[in-house]
């Protein structure tokens, strides 16, 4: 399906990540996030919220973030880099 086509630009990946975070933490402001600081700390989300986020990334991009890789997606910038690497 066309949906699984690689997501082209980094800016698109970034806006996808921010949008999915806003779904997990509906009462927070993803645009105010420091892209180099821990997502979990800033949004005050717990492990279940984080799993929901990982799952929505998988659903949207088809990319499966392994449990051992969670530390590689801890910040928005890390996450975008990780996804770009997987999608490329």
């Amino acid at each position: 399906m066309t949906m699984k086509a690689p997501i082209a630009s980094e800016s698109e990946l970034r806006s996808t990540v921010l949008e999915l975070l806003s779904q997990v933490a509906p009462d927070s402001d993803p645009n105010a996030i420091d892209p180099d600081a821990s997502i979990q700390d800033q949004l005050d989300i717990d492990s279940i919220d984080f799993l929901n986020f990982i799952m929505s990334v998988h659903e949207r991009t088809g990319i499966d973030i392994a449990e051992r890789d969670y530390t590689k997606v801890a910040t928005v910038n890390d996450c975008v880099r990780y996804l770009a690497g997987k999608a490329g």
């Binding site: 399906m1 698109e12 779904q23 997990v24 933490a25 402001d29 949004l43 717990d46 973030i65």
Partner: protein
């Protein structure tokens, strides 16, 4: 008005999902009610046909006030769905508009108790008593909620995620064309539909998402519930001032902006003479008796937080005043459980991944089979054990306060189901989309502060329950066994329990039963 928790004494009806004449079945969601904590979807507790809606949207009434009458199947009064009696115009397109008969009287009539007195004998009164009998309302699924499909045609095929997404975006699934296998609607389809909805002028069929400049805001910041309410009221979110965190629009804002006026047949904001300014600030609220005081202004988020604090204060004070607590704690070796989890997750895709929480909940639920004294209610001077195990899960809300909705029959669910339920519950709690049964049914509550790094937590029992189980964080600790010392992942589980219902000895057996099960994770 059902009691949706020990700390609730009144509720505001936000929306009816049914109208007179609708057939309802036990468990159907019939109304949306605002408590001090959240908007809760109220389920009906018996089968029948909706007779009359007694409380109009927007009105706040005390717990125990009848919300609607339910007629038994075949009962003559108003049983005919279409040709409703007394010339009540039932507008099929506007199911949330109550019968006009109920409306004109409203300003003149004092809100709740009078309505209750005037209620015909068939009225099902909601008591403060057992919550399971409390909510007497009505039923059939209405298309007002995006997620719910129209009554007759079958639900559109869509993935659960797509459904959630559609609900969040206010997209009607029936209008979405599925591109997945067998025409199943996927999340991407919903996103495309939502994008088209947001920008109706955009080129149709554009499968790619609209490109946004980096400076452009993603979109108007509003909670999913706010979007839903806005869609129903025909309010343009862009013109609503938000009072939530970072200016997010909450549903209260939407309501304050274009509140539910049951008598207004025209749900368009333009037709409404209401001020377009921001909702009245706390100080600016009129304090004198308003003639039409029946409907209160929607609370601001500060007022809401204050209300939640008061609700928590009331329930916890009551608990500490009445319940003689005793506390126990036990450290458990988690190596077997974690190894099992790791092994399981390794072979699984992200969608099937388990967290330790699933194991903990299952162990806590199963252990009640060994020690039933911790599962049930203490009411009217006696302990009533519960056969079912509905496990309340404490969830802290980011906007402050906490809520403890229940996972039903946790002892009978497998780990995958429990995990899915837990994720769903947390997601809905975040969006304040919980159901009445989840708020009232818990027979035992758990709290997990492990994510916050807390090693052990001693809770306060939530009345009328008789115990609260606390799980801390998994920490590596020295562990001596068979004369050998090793570093093991450990977890401290605690029990706060009502001494009127059980003694420390039995409580200790309960914690041991949890430990025993976590040491044999393959049997969970």
């Amino acid at each position: 008005m059902p009691s949706l928790g020990a700390d609730m004494d009144a509720g505001r009806l936000l929306e009816w999902y049914v109208k007179p004449g609708d057939a309802v079945k036990r468990g159907d969601i019939v109304a949306l009610v605002d408590t001090d904590k959240a908007a809760i979807e109220v389920e009906v507790f018996e089968d029948g046909v909706v007779g009359e809606l007694l409380v109009p949207p927007g009105e706040k009434v005390p717990v125990g006030t009848p919300l609607a009458t339910i007629l038994a199947e075949g009962e003559p009064v108003g049983a005919a769905p279409a040709g409703t009696p007394a010339g009540i115009p039932v507008v099929p397109e506007a199911p949330t508009v109550p019968p006009s008969a109920a409306v004109p009287e409203r300003p003149a009539t004092p809100p709740a108790p009078a309505a209750a007195a005037a209620t015909p004998p068939t009225a099902v009164a909601a008591g403060t008593a057992p919550p399971s009998e409390a909510a007497a309302t009505a039923v059939a699924e209405r298309p007002t909620v995006a997620e719910r499909a129209p009554a007759a045609p079958p639900r559109p095929h869509a993935t659960p995620a797509a459904r959630n997404h559609a609900r969040a975006e206010g997209v009607d699934l029936a209008s979405v064309t599925g591109s997945g296998r067998h025409g199943v609607i996927t999340c991407q389809d919903v996103e495309a539909a939502a994008a088209a909805q947001r920008a109706p002028t955009a080129a149709p069929g554009a499968a790619t998402k609209p490109d946004r400049g980096p400076e452009e805001p993603l979109r108007v910041r509003a909670s999913p519930l706010a979007r839903k309410v806005a869609q129903r009221l025909g309010v343009d979110l862009a013109s609503v001032p938000g009072t939530g965190p970072h200016g997010e629009i909450t549903w209260h804002d939407v309501e304050a902006f274009g509140g539910p006026l049951p008598s207004a047949p025209e749900p368009r904001p333009a037709a409404r003479p209401e001020p377009v300014g921001p909702p009245a600030a706390e100080g600016a609220r009129p304090t004198g008796a308003t003639p039409t005081a029946a409907r209160e202004a929607a609370p601001t988020s500060d007022e809401r937080y204050a209300a939640m604090r008061r609700a928590i204060a009331a329930a916890m004070s009551k608990s500490k005043r009445e319940i003689p607590h005793y506390y126990l704690s036990q450290r458990i070796d988690m190596s077997a459980a974690l190894a099992r989890l790791e092994e399981t997750n390794l072979a699984r895709s992200v969608t099937e991944r388990l967290l330790p929480a699933a194991l903990l909940l299952k162990a806590a639920a199963l252990a009640t089979h060994d020690v039933p004294e911790v599962n049930g209610f203490y009411r009217e001077g006696g302990f009533e054990p519960s056969d079912a195990v509905h496990l309340g899960v404490g969830i802290s809300l980011r906007q402050g306060g906490l809520i403890a909705p229940a996972i039903h029959d946790a002892d009978r669910k497998d780990l995958d189901t429990l995990m899915a339920d837990l994720r769903d519950l947390v997601k809905r709690a975040r969006n304040l989309q919980l159901r009445s049964s989840e708020m009232t049914d818990a027979t035992l509550t758990t709290t997990m502060l492990g994510d916050q790094g807390v090693e052990s937590v001693f809770g306060i029992v939530y009345p009328p329950q008789v115990a609260l189980v606390g799980f801390g964080r998994v920490v590596e600790r020295p562990w001596a066994e068979h004369g050998m010392l090793a570093a093991r992942p450990t977890l401290t589980v605690t029990l706060a329990a009502d001494h009127r219902a059980s003694d420390g000895h039995r409580g200790g057996l309960y914690l041991s039963a949890i430990e025993r099960r976590l040491l044999k994770p393959e049997e969970l």
